[in-house]
Symmetry: C2
């Protein structure tokens, strides 16, 4: 735990500021995802599904709590760390309001996936403890399996759904990338973490090229997730 | 754990059926309370308060999960056990929709309180394991303290609020008693648990008298809770 890169969040380096941004972003993302999942559960067709979704929502709250506590540990007010990300994340959710139970499942799956890829990418250059926390918070295999199975089943029952849900997924990822670009522009320390990592592949490339390459990688991972749900990209 | 009254939920006695009703009622109450708290958190004035309320909601989900698992353990489908209580609990929530953050806090406090009194009363005659589970699920001291402090502070800042919030609390308890009477009429096995316990005080009294006496006791406890929030009854 004490090995790894020397930078720790207590040092006032670009990386340290990036880490606070990362934790703040992830904390607010978990909190708002908790609220959205709880809202969406009202669309669930059965009491059992409602209960299941409530469980997913509660897991998000648990993650929020851990990230919140980590920020407190670092001497940072969690609310101040989250504040810069309220507008872009709220905007993403406002622009991607599910109109059905299935749309809400696809959103949870796609949203988690994109967010997970992004956070893992950024966490590579964070200090060890932050990286472990972020990685731990992101490992929710049971949930992804439950959702993929439900969507697959629905598409098998009514193949017409496949095209509509794939379009919905494309809108989700488009809106996510547009908010991510906004965040990258507004939060240089966070973007720096992303770019430094991207630059490992190609030290010649400028910041924008690195960001584009990372976004391309996220898009590939998105296609793999669509396949897992039985949707084509 | 193996001492205590002989009846266990696996025996098809009135008490056993009452216990399944109790667990089903409590499970659905926790699930719906989870959803309502998560909804109400949107009214919270700050990110910190939102996070706090999300934590309360997640606690309800944890309780739901434990009650759900206990029903499964007893060989009962949790959804079947919850079903009879969906209409009365949804009706209570529909008739008591908070219009402000403070109303939502008072509702959480009053609703928890009434529910807790009621469940504890009924659980007295349940089997040991059920009683322990119910009592454990109901012990949420930190939360009650947080809410009472917030309401007290708001009333201290603006004394005009006291009367309005006390009226709101009266409406909450009135609607709860009306739904409880409906449940007692529709679920004789559950009502029997309540009445048997009430009858310990006065073996001569009929069912209705016992129920009324219990309701009177609940109302007294309600007045004590109003005082704790700085409201008069």
């Amino acid at each position: 735990m004490t090995s790894g890169p020397a930078q720790t969040p207590s040092e006032d380096t670009t990386a340290a500021r990036g880490v606070v941004d990362l934790l703040g972003l992830l904390a607010y993302a978990e909190l708002v995802s908790f609220f959205r999942l709880a809202d969406d559960a009202e669309l669930a067709p059965s009491l059992a599904d409602k209960g299941e979704l409530a469980g997913f929502a509660a897991t998000e709250q648990g993650h929020y709590q851990r990230l919140h506590d980590r920020l407190v540990e670092l001497g940072v007010a969690p609310e101040a760390a989250m504040e810069p990300f309220v507008a872009p994340l709220d905007a993403w959710h406002a622009r991607t309001e599910p109109q059905s139970w299935l749309e809400s499942l696809v959103k949870a799956y796609v949203g988690d996936g994109i967010a997970g890829d992004f956070y893992r990418q950024v966490a590579v250059l964070a200090d060890d403890e932050t990286r472990e926390l972020v990685t731990g918070v992101l490992s929710e295999e049971g949930r992804a399996g439950f959702i993929a199975k439900k969507v697959q089943q629905a598409v098998a029952d009514d193949p017409k759904l496949a095209g509509r849900l794939a379009l919905w997924a494309r809108r989700l990822v488009g809106e996510a990338l547009s908010q991510a670009q906004r965040v990258a522009a507004e939060r240089p320390h966070l973007a720096a973490l992303l770019v430094t990592e991207g630059a490992e592949d190609n030290a010649e490339s400028g910041d924008l090229a690195a960001v584009s390459r990372i976004f391309a990688r996220l898009t590939d991972a998105h296609s793999a997730r669509l396949k897992a749900m039985g949707l084509s990209s």
